[in-house]
Symmetry: C2
Subunit: 701 residues, 2 copies
């Protein structure tokens, strides 16, 4: 399939369909871009009114073209796109870009038209990009199908772009041009009816001209494939996934759902696959510049600055980004001090080069510092005036970049001078240049984080898994067309190794008392009803019952209160559980995400769950190290480990629960949602227990 | 004093001291800037070797100048600065800028030199700026004393800059120039030995040419005066306070201290005084642009975009910034729809103007939308090509700015086109232009937040205040040269209206039992010792003692364990308190900040305090609404108010405690630190109780 896309990027002959001599005709802009970018193949224009363009005849129909056509670009009114597609098919064209808008994005009528176009393409074995897009660019081949003029400054390079919005794609190209970056390929996938972002991604992963892949996506079609593709390559992939509010509108039905909103899942999934996410093009710029530098293998930064103020600002930025200021050995500083003319400044890190005006000494200090074992990267901030210092400063920047490549450590350079000079430097320097001290620091932090991301294989973790028991319970639920009840959900979790609190079903007051005596007081009573999921909202829970009388009273109160608040609910009785003392409450859950499949979540429980939203998410399946990493991500991690004399919690047991849930949803894709809330984690060595469980199944599964 | 500074900015005659004909002489750059900025007064150069410059004689000594001199600028070697200052004094010069470095910033020798310079200046009644600075700029008067060339593009305007770093000052001027902003005045205060940032601020507040004041500070000399000055003006004040890690190195001795680190105090103080804080020049740019727009009086934004992708990105940015997308009435949308040529797009908010190419319709839609009651501000994103659309797009931007001024609502405009065109627009448009959709949205959010900041007077809140009782306890402590003990700290807080848990001192096992019987079981025992502040770290606390035997055992264990862990501590016995059930633990505290005086803090207590660092801070004194606002700032606020069926806490009682502490530290400045930790807040109507208190006094106070 990848090779089949190659013709899109390297056609020998192109037909631009929808060209006329009328002023404002956009088809002509496409031909203009092909001209100005230096496309080396043959271009044919097609338009019903004929005429000429660039000394070429405008053919009245595709069928009139006296040649084989590799790629057709359609920019004709939406209603005639089906005919144009059919005409391309009859001509033997197998690659088409449909740029016309007015399809599914504009309503049901357009959606129907879109389906007709897709059917016609399929009939002729045509692969097509779009509709509602600006098509593609292959800068190295001088190919562009965009109907807007592209910036002439845009150089060929290693960055490729996949975008769901033509406008955003153009913005990225403008940004690349002004930052002195270079483009390999761009594809605007539009409504992605046939070729989608994953198809293009697969092609770009194999494309030797592409070094970095940047994507702008408003929706993700097949998250699992996206993750698999990303895991298969070493090329950096940077994604702007917008439309973050799309799912916020839905009402979350469980804590797991609330804490794992679609956008949080996207965050987790991309990180799991080693994809860097960005949310504005400024961050993209920082990423692209950072990735032009060698990797940052540790956290220790040396800061050299000609301005003391910038040194302070860079040190602040290091603190905010969690970067350490490297400790420079005293003998190095003493040696360095001998190079200084005056005695005005004292060397340390950040190193204030003060009013020392010798650029050769800068270079010497920089290379000495960067070579040190305790330094993982450097920020160099150079303030200068264009007139007197211009040429020498440019040579210094060039040397710093060479130094960075030689020593294989990143040097992020901040040029503090007039804006015009900074713009010029971006075009002429071999390495990146940053406009602010904090940008340079941020670039090093991005590099550190990017290369630290450990991508793990999507492996189902081993462990207890009594699938037969689960199947039996699910079959019973399915037979009755309902979701599992509390004790069934607990039993399902237990079958996969989740320790559940003891749990007796009692259908009467007497049975409740008997169960309580059997379990030992104090106990908890919780209503059981297929219609009631949030039990405490209906008065269906009573805690800490310390006597037979208490149990009896609680049973009667629960039945009365739930009966009154939810008169339509079937009450099966209650479950009786021992009242547990001590430990900490967490939540472990899972949810079926429409894009990425099942995600597993662990989070802080109790009253603060909605206040602090402290949760970690992973797309299932995942191996043990991912479960351990989830716990370390939690803000409550220090509390779980034991802070200020507090007892440590049994995190090992919690890891087993996370893995059990990951196994369970991997084996039973029909589970829509599962909430173990709370799961009580006892002191280290004393395990944990699910105290409550709620589960829902995919309708009709 | 303000009028005395005026001569710095509007001298008729200037002497530049330290000029020579040698290549690389920096004094000449000062004269060059005066020349290129068009200074209209008279300039004299002074240098020991004489010579000429710009057709003028370089005098060999200040005393040789045959004229009155209003302002002298010294750029001579540090060691001769004292003599130069004395010479200025003898010449009758009363305003001096010392640009030379090598004073207190370089070590003890330089500090001594600095003191000599200050003494000589004082002797002659000279006010001086610096040393270690680049002096000042008055763009409207063509005055600049900087020894680096300034960007010729820098236009006169309404922004003034006070900076503690010359390099950062120059960066801000470069930024202003490239963004098309205009400068009123800049002062680089350097080591601020005489004239400091507050002196300059006071001057700029009265300066009719200054509309916005921007400051870069690495330290704050007199925080109280800074706050008072800021409260006295309507001019926006924007501050970059760097050096955020300066105090992090110290070891925090209490939760209050840990949660109110110097930088958090700066944050609180600046906001209390209506000062906007920024942390990088990018945010400064956004602020300056935003403040060129009318105020944002609500939270509802209309987004109009020519690119659907940018509309989605702007909607995301609104969500992240907490801005609402305004609901546009259907009849307006229907009416608007009739202006569209095609039916491809459907109007909503964000409004995707799609492939509608009529700029007059854009203008009509924009003005109709902005005029609506339900719209507080607008983001307009315009994608265009310079060639065909350039002039008409510029006119559209101009109209949008006029519209914004006419309707007195902000319109943040994003120009999506090649970088060169954006740079050009910044210089020619009357209003600001933003480079990214998210920047335009952020500007509206900054405007909203800036104008929402309610500045309250620094009033001591009324309420219980038995100052006599407090004085007596403090006198006793002072007499013994120690800090107040637990029960004394509790009594001090109680004297100002803080409800304290009942508290009996017991010096023996029997006394502890008697106190417990008196208070009623269960009880808590806590060790009392002047040397032990973190009692539980030494085994000095036992909770939930339910019997006489339990109390006896606890007393013995505490004495044994504390005696072993802190053998040098004097043990006065224990306090016995009733064991409280229910409620939530918070912390209320106060700390004497070296820059801003006393700050009061309220935060979440318990085991999560260090994990979530959820605290609100105010500089004392402050009136009741500030105390209420502090609680609303806390992340746990929803929990305190009662979420998901949980009982609401007695927040009114908590407000009284905060006000009590504000009164206490206002009346007793000798209190260095006070920690009520925990303060147990019971259900609404049931008050709160301080369960423990720690207090330290300013040494020698």
């Amino acid at each position: 399939m990848a090779s089949s896309l190659d013709t899109f990027f390297n056609p020998e002959t192109i037909a631009v369909v929808g060209v006329s001599e009328k002023p404002g005709n956009l088809g002509r802009v496409i031909s203009g871009n092909l001209q100005s970018f230096g496309f080396r193949g043959i271009v044919y224009e097609v338009g019903p009114n004929g005429g000429t363009l660039y000394g070429r005849r405008i053919y009245k129909a595709v069928s009139d073209i006296p040649d084989r056509v590799d790629l057709a670009v359609l920019l004709v009114p939406a209603r005639v796109v089906p005919d144009a597609m059919a005409e391309c098919g009859r001509k033997g064209i197998r690659h088409v870009v449909v740029e016309t808008a007015g399809f599914s994005e504009s309503g049901p009528e357009g959606a129907e038209l879109e389906q007709r176009v897709a059917a016609i393409a399929a009939e002729h074995g045509i692969r097509f990009i779009g509709p509602n897009c600006i098509g593609l660019v292959n800068r190295h081949a001088g190919l562009s199908t965009a109907f807007v003029s592209l910036d002439a400054h845009l150089q060929p390079g290693g960055t490729s772009v996949v975008t769901q919005s033509g406008g955003v794609g153009i913005s990225i190209l403008n940004m690349l041009a002004s930052e002195g970056g270079g483009l390999a390929k761009m594809v605007s996938v539009g409504n992605k009816v046939d070729v989608d972002e994953n198809d293009v991604l697969e092609y770009l992963i194999d494309d030797p001209e592409t070094e970095i892949i940047t994507m702008y996506l408003e929706g993700i079609r097949d998250g699992k494939r996206l993750m698999d593709l990303a895991r298969s390559t070493d090329k950096p992939i940077l994604i702007h996934k917008s439309n973050i509010g799309e799912a916020a509108r839905g009402i979350a039905s469980s804590h797991t759902a609330a804490l794992s909103a679609d956008d949080a899942v996207v965050d987790a999934a991309l990180r799991q696959a080693g994809i860097a996410r960005f949310r504005d093009s400024e961050t993209l710029v920082h990423y692209l510049k950072a990735l032009a530098l060698p990797p940052m293998r540790g956290n220790r930064v040396a800061v050299l600055s000609r301005s003391g103020g910038h040194a302070v600002i860079a040190a602040d930025a290091c603190e905010l980004e969690g970067l350490e200021l490297a400790t420079l050995p005293q003998d190095f500083l003493d040696e360095a001090q001998t190079h200084l003319r005056a005695n005005v400044i004292s060397l340390t890190n950040p190193m204030d080069l003060g009013d020392l005006f010798d650029l050769d000494v800068y270079e010497k200090l920089a290379s000495g510092t960067l070579a040190m074992d305790g330094v993982d990267g450097m920020v160099f901030m150079h303030t200068y005036m264009v007139g007197p210092d211009g040429d020498r400063s440019q040579r210094l920047f060039e040397r710093l970049h060479e130094m960075s490549l030689e020593l294989h450590k990143p040097v992020a350079v901040h040029a503090d001078t007039v804006a015009g000079e900074v713009s010029r430097l971006k075009q002429v320097l071999p390495g990146p240049v940053f406009q602010e001290p904090s940008d340079a620091v941020r670039a090093l932090a991005l590099l550190r984080d990017y290369w630290k991301a450990d991508v793990l294989p999507p492996e189902r973790p081993d462990g207890p898994a009594d699938a037969g028991a689960v199947r039996a319970i699910l079959a019973a639920c399915r037979a009755e067309g309902r979701d599992p009840l509390l004790q069934e959900a607990m039993a399902i979790a237990a079958a996969y190794g989740v320790p559940a609190a003891e749990c007796r079903l009692a259908a009467s007051e007497d049975e409740a008392v008997a169960a309580a005596e059997d379990l030992g007081l104090p106990v908890v009573l919780k209503v059981v009803s297929p219609e009631i999921s949030h039990k405490s909202d209906f008065g269906g829970v009573q805690l800490n019952l310390r006597s037979e009388d208490g149990v009896r009273a609680a049973y009667r109160e629960i039945m009365a209160e739930v009966g009154e608040r939810a008169p339509e609910a079937n009450l099966y009785g209650v479950v009786v559980q021992p009242m547990l003392r001590g430990g900490r409450d967490l939540i472990v859950g899972a949810r079926l995400d429409p894009n990425f499949g099942h995600v597993v979540l662990v989070g802080m429980g109790g009253v603060f769950v909605e206040v602090f939203r402290d949760a970690a998410i992973r797309v299932a399946p995942f191996p043990r190290p991912a479960a351990e990493a989830m716990l370390r991500e939690l803000k409550v991690w220090p509390v779980l480990k034991g802070v200020r004399g507090q007892e440590a919690s049994d995190v090992d047991a919690l890891v087993e629960v996370i893995l059990a849930i990951a196994r369970l949803v991997t084996d039973f894709p029909e589970i829509a949602e599962l909430d173990l809330n709370p799961i009580r984690v006892m002191a280290a060595g004393h395990g944990c227990r699910a105290l409550d469980a709620r589960m829902s199944l995919v309708p009709g599964a």
